[in-house]
Symmetry: C2
Subunit: 661 residues, 2 copies
């Protein structure tokens, strides 16, 4: 019936039926073999998911795959990428490993892709080595200030601080010709670096472990921005595609990084550039006089990556809504991994499959059908740059006013609440995974649910075997979640969120939460009041707009409370729900960030400016400060402020009673 | 109730009550005085409309104004614009009129703005005169081919063929320094040009009549593209604003044009460049030897226009929907005129007011309330470039999924149907008036209803006194529609459309109408199949996409027919109506035409290419043909084709049963 609402008995049943052992068995199957995007095993998993969701026993209404032809990047099988130390006559003095050590019998074999930087261009640069910390702009500036010669050098950087691709982009600006990157044990292992302290003896990263990853600066298929990558689609020539690293770059393990870094000459690096390799980190250029290598030895980086057009599939399964089938709750996770990908992404898919099983069983029995439609998604080629989910949004936009929540998980944070104790933290969504095109390009409310390690007990940047060949089923089963109770907790949380979103008569979205964000952005902007006024830019309209939003949000909440008490006309309820759903869309402005592919959300676009306010305003302000106060830069500050004000006015109007002038 | 549907008795009552005499009296009041945008009389009309719609007797639920600060262009009061013939010593031999002849007592006085080209830059160029036909690119190419010197010349052009601003843009590319433009009696008066053949003796344009107009190349406030022009908004510096004519331009009457044109020297102009001024039109440059002026006389054009920031208002009135108040039918017309503006725009507003009166009366009596909300709009500053309606769309976008139909009128065409005889013609919408930002920028289905003269009886380009001081109440009352029966017919048609859109249970939009358009565009594209295939561009995906759309449209119509027979779940009906409403939105692609401000509709963007297919494809194809087959130009053809295919696939998906994978 039109007044169908969340049934707490059903919710309880779902939560009780979510089974830790089944999640474990799902994970075992999903992570049994490496399943790099478009590999035979990735394709086999497409079929596995499709069959589970198509099986009449599953209870789902239908399932299908959607295939795209996308540009991926792979290392050459014939010519492995190499990192060597060579002396002045060209003789090789030392070579970094080409693959991780086969510690558990799972790190060998043809399906384990050797460590590489996807989309790094081929090339064989050689030069003196320099240590460049995290490879940020500030790091290179500091090296330049210290007089370290960067032109024609190879730099060694550690992961963290800035994105992968940014390290190569920043380096190239200073004439650097090749980049190495490694994970420092201080950043990932709480300093532990010995074989017997690391996996398989603990959860820590072994010395030979190497983080793979995509070095593409945008997301989506690189050749088809804003168009779905169907076989017949227009494609950029790969020479015209942008966002690839400008120079060769290659990741290595900290075992090899230690040999290079602990032999570097030059001055001592700053204190916060030091790490956990058990030696002083010098800056270079070149090696020290009393070390393993002759001083004039150089580093040669040989990258032989190749771009290839490959077919990658998404798998979609659907449960049709009983009352509002044209409103969708989308629950997805990517499928492809770098190697076995037990944690990333298979934990997510293991839970997703268990939840689709439990919900399907209820459907099959006829005891339940959600008010709104539920879509399950398994995205392909996420690791190469969120490709599967992005191509999906390019097909569906912009007529897709129906999609309402994109629910995904990978990352994990907790926070302490004075009222509730330790609760899940609600942070902001960057572009970490498949949800990115939904929130940033389509303006669809999204969330990323996860369970992670206790951050009071480790300073690890991320779980240590991330994107390495050691992220295996045994790693999860032994060190991360032996009883699969954390998985079960995530399944229960996700199940609860999914049912509340799909079944609640009124969407469980509190628009006043946005008032908090706006208030905090406004407070940060207040710190700029004086310099802005010096350039005749007034914050007054922003203050007014935030207040209007707060007022509209409060009174919408009151109207909802009133409606919840009385009888509910289905169209009135739908009207309110549309206001809740469409609020996110009003924050999009396709003119706001013309240089930033896909980004158009005026609250959540990437912020590079230092002031924690609206990203466009913050970035434009930093730019104006840095460019010596050019009038055009201040005009851009005013333009960004006007964009925010217009978006907030539009948002407030969206929340106001309809047909209210 | 949720199943409220169109009541034909109510429709009949509305149609019967629409009163021709009241429309006449509305028109008399509205066109009593000149009401140029932001003038005191324009402001007085804002108050008049506001009071009518706010008056409790009116029956409307509420009304308000929305004010914007916009950049307009006016001639100087102290220094009138001038067009003079001067001899080699600089003595003035002849001057064009500064204002129209005061034939009816209404063409004089301080409120009649002298003829000018809004947004033309100030300047006083002088040079030999050349006749350039309509000032199109082809016209200037032909002059160049004929060896007519254009550098440093003044050109005389006639209205028609290309837009106003384009004449100056094209001229400047050839080194022309000033432009004159006039209306040829052949194009507007079926050749009649004598005082006793023209107004006030007939509907024809008098010899001194001058068409004013905006020469701005885009629409919306020139300083605030994509942002609402609130007082605090970011504004471009007017030096950085684009779209203004590059050189001075001034319109004149055909009485003055005759003196200039009939004295031109040089070769005879081509046959299709000849007009109705009773002499042979020569090309120039300069005057003929045996004419009124010495051969070396030149033309001096003195333009003293000024840009001014002014406050312009829209007026909005609303009738709240009883069942779906969050779905809107918008019915608007602009308010501002060039002079008295009896036809343009006051006929429209006179009808709008009569319709709001009749509907308000029913509301007041309690006999009717529409299913959906109705918004009446009176837009400001349309004549300067659709400014009022554009600023409105900039505030409301993009969260405004609720707006459904923008109903407006100005233009008039009939067509003969083999079945029905003479019926209103449904052409395509350009950017002729206020609806432009709704359809092109927001993707809201729009229509433009009108009643015009019998095109079999005159070849007039438009009604003859368009944008002149002769477009007065008496002109309408005496020559155009003495009994106001045409007005009444428009009111009845508009009333019927408005009621059907606001009251029908199922929206009266037939998606298969779009199948016809797509089929015709596809057929035109088929003519390009061979050259496209020579560049490895296949039409196959387009054929498939059109077929998918046709299939989806047909089966949606079948589902509607089935639903109409059975009982109707209100949410099911709403779902279908949303599909009908959102179809238009799926044709938008903000990446399609990055250079074309606001235009993003892949079916209705401006087409400059000669092939009558999708505008992006047609334009890119012409470009590729014209640029000597550069690979980048063919890549753009493929990109445009992919954009169309993606839009059609999205459109078909929008029409398919929801929750259908
Ligand atoms: Ca794409
Ligand atoms: Ca604007
Ligand atoms: Zn992942
Ligand atoms: Zn990953
Ligand atoms: Zn008009
Ligand atoms: Zn007009």
């Amino acid at each position: 019936s039109a007044s169908q609402d969340l049934d707490l008995e059903i919710l309880k049943t779902v939560i009780e039926q979510l089974d830790a052992d089944r999640i474990r068995e799902n994970l075992r199957e999903l992570s049994k073999e490496p399943h790099l995007a478009t590999s035979p095993r990735d394709e086999a998993l497409v079929q596995l998911l499709l069959q589970r969701w198509q099986d009449p026993e599953s209870g789902l209404d239908s399932a299908r795959t959607a295939e795209y032809e996308v540009l991926l990047s792979f290392p050459s099988e014939e010519q492995p990428n190499r990192v060597d130390v060579v002396n002045s006559t060209g003789a090789i003095l030392f070579s970094c490993r080409h693959s991780e050590e086969n510690l558990t019998g799972e790190q060998g074999g043809p399906n384990v892709v050797p460590p590489y930087a996807a989309y790094a261009p081929p090339g064989t640069p050689q030069g003196p080595l320099v240590y460049a910390n995290q490879g940020s702009e500030e790091d290179f500036k500091e090296l330049q200030n210290k007089g370290v010669k960067l032109q024609d050098s190879i730099v060694l950087t550690r992961y963290g601080g800035v994105g992968r691709g940014a390290k190569a982009v920043n380096a190239a600006k200073y004439g650097v010709i090749g980049v190495l990157v490694y994970t420092d044990p201080k950043d990932i292992n709480d300093g532990k670096s010995l074989p017997n302290e690391t996996f398989p003896h603990s959860w820590c990263l072994p010395p030979s472990g190497v983080e793979r990853g995509s070095y593409f600066e945008y997301f989506g298929d690189p050749l088809t921005p804003y168009l779905p990558a169907t076989p017949s689609s227009f494609r950029l020539n790969s020479d015209n595609a942008s966002g690839f690293p400008p120079i060769p770059i290659q990741p290595i393990g900290f075992e090899d990084a230690q040999v290079l870094l602990c032999n570097l000459g030059g001055n001592l690096a700053p204190a916060d550039w030091q790490g956990g390799l058990g030696c002083d980190y010098n800056l270079g250029p070149g090696f020290r006089s009393n070390g393993t290598f002759p001083e004039d030895s150089q580093v040669n980086v040989s990258v032989h990556n190749r771009l290839e057009l490959r077919n990658s599939s998404n798998v979609l399964g659907i449960i049709r809504g009983a009352v509002e089938p044209d409103r969708y709750v989308l629950y997805g996770n990517h499928r492809d991994s770098w190697v076995h990908g037990a944690v990333d992404p298979s934990t997510g898919t293991a839970v997703l499959l268990e939840l689709s099983r439990v919900l399907g069983t209820l459907l099959k029995k006829g005891t339940w059908r959600p008010r709104r439609s539920i879509v399950f998604a398994s995205w392909g080629a996420e690791e190469f740059g969120l490709i599967g989910s992005t191509e999906f949004t390019e097909i569906s936009a912009p007529g897709s006013s129906g999609l309402s929540i994109y629910d995904n998980w990978i990352r994990y944070y907790n926070r302490s609440s004075s009222v509730y104790g330790l609760v899940p933290s609600v942070g902001t969504l960057g572009a970490g995974s498949d949800y990115a095109p939904f929130i940033h390009f389509l303006g669809i409310s999204s969330m990323d649910i996860a369970y992670t390690y206790d951050r009071s007990k480790t300073s690890a940047r991320i779980y240590p075997t991330y994107h390495t060949a050691f992220d295996t089923f045994d790693y999860v089963n032994k060190f991360l979640d032996p009883g699969f109770t954390s998985h079960q907790a995530v399944a229960r949380t996700a199940g609860s969120v999914l049912l509340r979103l799909s079944d609640s008569l009124f969407l469980p979205l509190n628009v006043s939460d946005y008032s908090e964000t706006l208030r905090s952005f406004l407070q940060a902007a207040e710190n700029l009041r004086v310099p802005l006024e010096q350039h005749n830019i007034s914050l007054g309209p922003l203050v007014t707009a935030v207040e209007k939003f707060e007022g509209a949000a409060t009174s919408l909440n009151q109207r909802i409370a009133t409606l919840q008490k009385g009888t509910s006309d289905p169209l009135q309820v739908r009207m309110i729900n549309d206001q809740l759903m469409l609020l996110e869309r009003t924050f999009l402005n396709s003119q706001a960030f013309p240089e930033e592919r896909y980004y158009s959300h005026v609250l959540w676009a990437p912020r590079t400016g230092s002031v924690a306010t609206f990203p466009g305003l913050s970035n434009a302000y930093s730019q104006a400060e840095n460019t010596g106060h050019e009038p055009a830069a201040w005009a851009e500050v005013q333009r960004q402020l006007s964009i925010v004000v217009a978006a907030l006015e539009g948002a407030a109007a969206t929340l106001r009673p309809v047909a209210d002038l």
